[in-house]
């Protein structure tokens, strides 16, 4: 039998997520290696990293789906190892792949979720969710017949249904069109304003820039954490933009030159970045003069910083092998 929630439910701590030194191995693969994360209440925290970097595994450990091999921490004040069930009750987890039942109708899916969480006013909650979604008239439609964008909206509505205090969203906007993505982020910011914390993993730079804080993970290791500006600053990069046509050949040459750590193509411009500002400046100045191209110093973008981090972690990983 289920009991009504006890009256003295714990008050919400300052950190929605506070985990330290998480490790997870699958066989001989060290999938998550010493990850520590703090997400403040009401914060939208972006979780970035290449495919297979350990984002999903980290999220699963935080919501009690996986037991970490080492490390400890709390999610909404509940211990991630011992109180996984309490975490599950208060967290909304949206899986990377749409994971509601295609052979149930939209209403049936929401109703199932409401039942599972033991919501007191089930019907009202489901009706309200359908209304908010704008799916009230299609409530009896089979979920499998929805388009990708609608499925994503339904998934968010379903994982919000039980009024969770923390949302864990695993690549929620993968394969969703730009308008739907923008609406989705508007919604996230509205939720955050209500004090709901959000951890969202993504591949999109524009989405990363809309997060309050960011973490970058590669090969299971957390490489940077902080606001976008902090993450960029941590890399200590200076960046120049070179404008012109046919920059490809030049980019190949520049990569081998002193002071240049990376070149990134942006349409008719190319970002050239390096950690040694003086060396970099003399190199790009010489190149621009030689080819008669326009050169200007620019702010290092988040994308430059991420590409730099990814490249460096690859190099490190190669060394380890």
């Amino acid at each position: 039998m289920s009991l009504p929630p006890t009256a003295e439910a714990p008050s919400e701590p300052e950190f929605a997520i506070d985990v330290r030194g998480l490790h997870k191995r699958f066989g001989d693969k060290h999938v998550v290696n010493d990850v520590s994360l703090q997400v403040r209440r009401g914060e939208i925290f972006g979780f970035l990293g290449p495919n297979g970097s350990g984002k999903t595994t980290s999220i699963r450990m935080m919501c009690g789906l996986l037991t970490p091999d080492a490390g400890s921490g709390a999610c909404l004040g509940f211990d991630i190892v011992k109180e996984a069930n309490q975490i599950k009750r208060n967290v909304g987890y949206m899986t990377q792949k749409f994971s509601y039942w295609d052979d149930l109708t939209i209403r049936e899916n929401l109703d199932f979720v409401a039942r599972v969480y033991g919501m007191p006013n089930r019907k009202a909650a489901v009706d309200q969710a359908l209304e908010n979604l704008g799916l009230a008239s299609r409530a009896k439609q089979l979920t499998g017949s929805l388009s990708g964008g609608w499925k994503q909206r339904l998934a968010l509505a379903a994982c919000m249904l039980h009024a969770p205090r923390l949302l864990l969203l695993d690549e929620p906007t993968a394969g969703v069109d730009p308008t739907a993505r923008r609406d989705f982020w508007e919604q996230l910011h509205a939720l955050a304003a209500q004090g709901i914390s959000v951890l969202v993993s993504t591949h999109y730079m524009d989405e990363a820039e809309r997060c309050h804080k960011l973490a970058y993970i590669a090969y299971g290791k957390l490489l940077a954490q902080g606001t976008a500006a902090e993450v960029i600053a941590q890399q200590g990069l200076t960046t120049w933009a070179i404008h012109g046509d046919n920059l490809f050949a030049l980019s190949q040459q520049l990569r081998a030159m002193p002071g240049v750590d990376q070149t990134v193509a942006f349409g008719n411009a190319m970002h050239v970045s390096g950690t040694d500002a003086a060396q970099l400046e003399s190199t790009v100045q010489a190149a621009a003069t030689r080819h008669g191209l326009k050169l200007e110093p620019v702010e290092t973008s988040l994308e430059d910083a991420f590409i730099y981090m990814m490249k460096r972690s690859q190099d490190n990983f190669a060394e380890q092998l």
Binding site: A9, S11, N85, K88, W101, D103
Partner: protein
């Protein structure tokens, strides 16, 4: 601001019920599975009930008659009257007879040698030769066993008067045979009740196996695990519809047995359903266990077939259990279908009571308990 909710940590009936409802809804939408639930028992019953006969009659027989007399005609008539033999051809010689057997045109060739009647009248005890295509022992066994008795009946009818001395003398003592439970030896009485266990193990093991792996394959299991639902609630909730299905299938077969095949219902109907429930439980635990080893639905299906075959062959459903070598009997004794077949046949045909049934009930209980333990142990709570 909304407070955090602390929930009850034990088994929740409400959550369990939510899983049950979901399974019923999904089953309702799955027309093919639903068709299978009703179709398989009916199809199996028609096939096994009408098509399979372990006591075949009217087998094609050819006659090579080098001698014609009242006695040979009488013997041929007796063969036909036994209903095992049907004379389909008269052949000129032995070569033609062998050819007909080799080509499978006839099952038996009766060879009446020249001078048979003359020898008989002289009291020389002549022989008739019956050649049989004995490749399939079940096809020929019963018919051949009937042959000697025919001599007796011909002798008592036709070899009379002055020839009476030639008729066989009465044997010094007699053996009385009582065929109990199925005096007419009707195969259906044995096969149709046996089908119940076959259908239940086939559909239930496969369906639970599929239902469990389907969630994993489609990724919905991850979603389920991220909710407060406990694995034990998922597991037990998911099997409820299949208990109902099992009982429905049992009822279909019992109705068919009673009204189509007129199988005697000597025992207690309540005992039948108790046995069925017990066997359903055993099959469902097997299905769950298989699903925890299978990575996808295809593998679950393969494992189900792998489980099903020995059950079908070694349980005494298809072939007599007592006729199997000791090692095969030992294997058969591990399988739940063996015990269920004994239970169902015992109840329906023999009218067994609880003390008679107990020796077959406790092995089923033990099997279910053991497999359940394995299932719970291997059913992974988390994704790793």
């Amino acid at each position: 601001m909304q407070p955090l909710i602390r929930q009850f940590d034990g088994f929740s009936l409400a959550r369990w019920w939510s899983i049950v409802l979901k399974e019923f809804l999904q089953l309702k939408r799955d027309r093919l599975t639903f068709g299978m639930i009703v179709g398989i028992p009916i199809m199996q019953m028609l096939l096994f009930g009408f098509a399979i006969n372990t006591d075949p009659k009217h087998l094609p027989t050819a006659v090579i008659a080098a001698d014609h007399s009242e006695f040979t005609r009488s013997y041929i008539a007796a063969m036909q009257n036994s209903s095992y033999f049907q004379i389909v051809a008269e052949l000129p010689n032995e070569e033609a007879g062998r050819a007909a057997l080799a080509q499978g045109k006839v099952q038996f060739v009766l060879n009446i040698p020249a001078g048979f009647t003359a020898q008989l009248l002289r009291g020389e005890r002549p022989s008739l030769l019956v050649e049989a295509d004995a490749t399939d022992p079940t096809a020929t066994g019963m018919a051949l066993a009937a042959l000697p008795q025919l001599v007796q009946s011909v002798a008592s009818k036709d070899v009379t008067g002055p020839l009476a001395a030639l008729a066989a003398k009465p044997q010094p003592f007699d053996v009385q045979v009582h065929r109990l439970y199925n005096p007419e030896g009707i195969s259906q009485y044995n096969v149709v009740p046996g089908l119940m266990g076959v259908v239940l193990s086939m559909t239930l093991v496969m369906m639970t196996g599929l239902a469990m792996t389907r969630e994993r394959e489609r990724g919905t299991m991850e979603n389920l695990l991220a909710t407060p639902v406990k694995p034990i609630e998922v597991m037990t909730g998911k099997i409820v519809p299949y208990i109902a299905i099992g009982l429905l299938q049992s009822t279909i077969i019992l109705l068919g047995a009673r009204f189509v095949f007129h199988v005697p219902f000597a025992g207690n109907l309540l005992a039948v359903y108790c046995a069925a429930l017990l066997f359903i439980a055993a099959s469902l635990t097997v299905g769950i266990t298989l699903s925890s080893f299978a990575r996808n639905q295809l593998q679950a299906m393969q494992l189900a077939v792998f489980y099903f075959l020995p059950n079908m062959l070694l349980s005494g459903f298809m072939f007599p259990f007592a006729g199997m070598p000791k090692w095969a009997q030992a294997l058969g004794n591990i399988l739940p279908l063996t015990y269920f077949n004994r239970l169902i046949r015992g109840i329906l045909l023999k009218g067994n009571s609880w003390p008679d049934l107990w020796p077959h009930i406790w092995p089923l209980l033990l099997f279910t308990a053991l497999v359940m333990t394995v299932a719970v142990k291997f059913y992974r709570k988390t994704l790793d």
